[in-house]
Symmetry: C2
DNA sequence: TCGATAGTTCAGCGATTATTGAAATATGGA
DNA sequence: TCCATATTTCAATAATCGCTGAACTATCGA
């Protein structure tokens, strides 16, 4: 991930409403949520939300697919992990203290995670 | 790290100029750089830069100390690692694919890093 | 085809943000 | 004490951002 992409991602996450929407979609998992449902959950007008979703999508943090009359939004986990790796490598290379904390956090996440792809 | 703090950090990093300054300070390491030197490096007026440094500092991403007539700014690596952990845990808990990528990146960072605190 | 539902796009407005010049503060040396 | 250096603060302006109402597009079912 280059600086420009990271910048766009930071900008997308730098507003309360958008961060809230993003976190909601992350929690919703790969199945995602319909735009209308999101609007209802966060209590915002559909057009306001549409703009927020648009910005998150342009930053590559979420993606959309049509399903009947609804448009389903879901988080792009790849982009999030790229962003994290950017912060770790491109911003903090050479600072082991950061890498150590992050490694510990990743370990925790993996140990508690439901065994998904690699079972062993 | 709570959402509000993360929001402030994202906002601080969401502008080209500030991200540039932040990356410069990260590369400079714990010794940091004098405000005037940073201004020179990034080619911005001292007062403009002062505002940018202020914002980064309020977000907890950098800190300052006076040294003679200069004020030295340096990156707060703790805050960066907190931000990464926030993205990983609070945003992406339950998504092992993210944790796996991040773990690999942390491993790379540690293996290439100069052995610092824990020698063994 | 028509009407209802689900979302988006667009223009405009109010609010926030970024930058600038000028003035102020703090430090060190003569 | 006085001056030069290093940086910040302040007020003002220009640019950007976020939200809203109204109009538009797409899909489904009768």
């Amino acid at each position: 991930m280059d600086s420009t992409t990271a910048l766009t991602a930071f900008a997308a996450l730098s507003q309360e409403g958008r961060l809230e929407v993003f976190r909601l979609l992350v929690k919703a998992g790969p199945d995602g949520l319909a735009a209308g449902l999101i609007a209802e959950r966060v209590g915002r007008a559909p057009n306001t939300l549409s703009a927020q979703l648009n910005l998150l999508q342009q930053a590559g943090l979420i993606e959309s697919r049509r399903e009947g009359r609804s448009i389903i939004y879901s988080a792009c986990f790849d982009q999030v992990s790229d962003l994290i790796v950017y912060l770790l490598e491109d911003c903090c290379a050479g600072e082991p203290c950061v890498a150590i904390s992050v490694q510990a956090a990743a370990d925790r996440a993996l140990c508690c995670a439901p065994t998904s792809s690699t079972s062993s």
